[in-house]
Amino acid sequence: MSEVLWNTAASFTAQSTSITTFDSFAVSVVVKIAFALGLFFVVPIVGGYLEHKVMGRMQARRGPVEAGPFGTLQLVADGIKFIQKEDVIPRAADRWVFAAAPGVALVPGMLIFLVLPFGPGVFALDLELGLFYALAISSVSVLGILMGGWASANKFSLIGGLRAGGQLIAYELPLILAAITVAVQAGTLSLVGIVEAQATFMLPGTEINVWYVFPQILGFGIFFLAAMAELSRPPFDMPIADSELVFGYMTEYTGIKFAMFLLTEYGGMILMSALMVVLYLGGWQLLPGVPLPGCEGTGGLFDCGVTGTLLGVGITLGKIMALVFLMVWARVAYPRLREDQLQRFAWLVLVPLALLNLALVGVAKVVF
């Protein structure tokens, strides 16, 4: 039995060339986990710093300045502070559920980082069902939010948790429909495969290579909105809604547990941005039809050498941060919607549009 499992696991890791794959399986596993964890902790902090600074500049102020050079260590200081804070569990709370909730919310984010490709060969795993896996796991973190909202024994938390649950149900559908449309077009569920497919996708009848964002601009819009709603980012931040619900489901959380929720939020932002980059924005390609230096001979994807790989990673992160910038921009510019307006928007606008998009792409796929 164990042998079967071992072989299955080994077959996962051996699927395609990755810089995290080594001859020894054990070393590979350690490196892959370290790789995913490292990215999970570092990239969201960069995103958070970006949010601080961008918000500051858009609001005619400077953002953090004093902590570290240019305030770059602000979130590090926050982290160090959160470690030291007293861990309060309200007496009326359901202790175990309360304690487990941040973990339940956080871990799925980490797991998804395993399949996200950040550059040519820079990923931990290339699953056949990568997209399916990412979407399935990402929904789990809402369970943690629901648990936290319920277990806090606080009315504000409860309302926040329930709103988060409702929001997830409403927005998971358009999100998945939009993602499926990409899978239909690419003909694969593998995230690496989708990037690969975009590198060779030509506009029908022409020789022009484009990313999927061009034929699927509608799907991209749907995915972007749905992702913001699922992450409860403003203007869809009703589960947190500070002016109504204090801090929503996080109201009773202190110290490290609160930090875990925050990290979930920022991690989610990076994760959804990364998915959008992979699905619509051509992954690590600089421009459509322009292969990375060093990758020319290899179909433009793997084994690009050090320069090409680093450049690819840089391009991916740049695109991710550009999307984060958009999300921050929306936060700065917009007030918050109302929960029922949000639901109406999801069911009456986004879902039909997503279905239409799917139908159109399906037809186009058959015709061309």
Partner: protein
């Protein structure tokens, strides 16, 4: 006048003594009751220490009961222990966003009782500063209302403007919030050199920035979705409650004592009173924003009219109002501020009643909140502009 029949059921807010009776429905394990949610006294939405107890069915508010008094500092009692000059320092603190207008009312009331002639220049300067103070106040609410609806940025912009105005007023009065610039019989000192130039420049600058708020807040689709049709207030109910200021103007009643009972020199200039149509949250906010432009118009007119001359009169050694009582009403930024000043001929007032706009306006909240959703409740709460100190005094 059938204002009471518009809503027959006495809602909990109008019966302060009666607490909520939570009705329990169903039996066994399926018993449910409505939820009681206490917002405040230290809740982000209540900007200040205002508490409101909501009775809810799901997210729908079925009853609301404001609990006030958390900022009750006993102004009216303390005023009886301060003489007429010292009162100024008290009254400009009750509505801390409109200090100048507050002290103006007291000065006018005492002057009326002492039958004092205030020099023209002082009156025009009082108007000028009162209008700047109005803008200062409204900017604060533009920012805070946006925050309540989840938009954080307008607050920063509003404070950018506020700092500029505060800097201007500080150059004349020495204060940022509490100016203490009025005196019985005039002003403390004349305007500093160059004030008018600065004031003119600032007026042009703010006028240029007002469209930003139209774009950022008022014209925003989500803002409109959140506020249009939310919490409408019928005019007759508003009047019966004593609601005044932008909250009343939003219902379509252009009652503004600068126009209907002109004090100072408001009779000599054009005062535009923007009004709404439906009295909903959007209209209330619209009136607030439009009043900034209206005040800027007034300021520009004052710049043209300001005469030269002295700014204060010679006071007797002891400021003492003669025996009797007077009621004086001025248009404060948030509504009409009335002072009932009763004197027994001594150095301190016998009774100084502050009829504050916020106190009356907040009374409308239980009426407005019935049947709305929690997020709408916040939208309504924020749109009935109030300052907690002004409610509780």
């Amino acid at each position: 006048m059938s204002d009471l029949s518009t809503r027959e059921r006495v809602h909990p807010g109008s019966a302060p003594g009666e607490d909520f009776h939570l009705e329990i429905v169903g039996d066994g394990d399926f018993q449910t009751a409505d939820m009681k949610l206490s917002i405040g006294p230290a809740h982000p939405a209540t900007h200040g220490v205002f508490r409101i107890v909501l009775e809810m069915d799901g997210e729908r508010v079925t009853g609301a009961r404001p609990v006030i008094g958390y900022m009750h500092r006993g102004f009216e009692k303390l005023a009886e222990h301060r003489d007429y000059r010292q009162i100024k320092a008290l009254v400009n603190r009750h509505d801390w966003l409109s200090g100048f207008s507050n002290e103006l009312g007291v000065a006018l009331a005492v002057e009326r009782m002492m039958e004092m002639e205030v020099p023209d220049r002082a009156q025009w300067i009082r108007m000028l500063l009162a209008e700047w103070n109005r803008i200062l106040n409204h900017l604060m609410f533009i920012g805070s209302y946006a925050i309540e609806l989840g938009a954080i940025t307008p607050m920063f912009y509003a404070f950018r403007e506020r700092e500029d105005i505060q800097h201007l007023l500080e150059s004349a009065t020495g204060g940022r919030l509490h100016f203490t610039y009025n005196q019985v019989g005039g002003l403390k000192i004349d305007l500093p050199k160059g004030f008018l130039r600065q004031s003119t420049e600032l007026s042009a600058l703010i006028r240029k920035r007002v469209p930003d708020y139209h774009d950022l807040v008022l014209g925003n689709d989500i803002f409109q979705a959140r506020t249009v049709g939310v919490g409408p207030l019928p005019p007759e109910v508003a009047l019966s409650l004593g609601v005044t200021g932008p909250t009343l103007h939003a219902t379509g009643v252009p009652e503004d004592s600068r126009v209907t009972e002109p004090y100072l020199k408001y009779g000599e200039i054009d005062v535009d009173v923007p009004v709404g149509e439906n009295g909903d949250s959007f209209d209330r906010f619209y009136c607030l924003l439009a009043r900034i432009s209206a005040s800027l118009d007034i300021i520009d007119q004052i710049h043209d009219h300001l005469p030269a001359g002295p700014v204060n009169t010679k006071l007797p050694k002891m400021v003492k109002a003669p025996e009797g009582a007077t009621y004086l009403r001025t248009e404060n930024p948030l509504g009409q501020l009335g002072y009932w000043l009763e004197s027994d001929g001594g150095r301190t007032p016998w009774r100084l009643k502050m009829r504050t706009p916020s106190f009356s306006n907040v009374q409308a909240i239980p009426y407005l909140l019935e049947g709305v959703l929690v997020p709408d409740a916040i939208a309504v709460l924020g749109s009935v502009f109030f300052v907690v100190g002004d409610i509780d005094r």
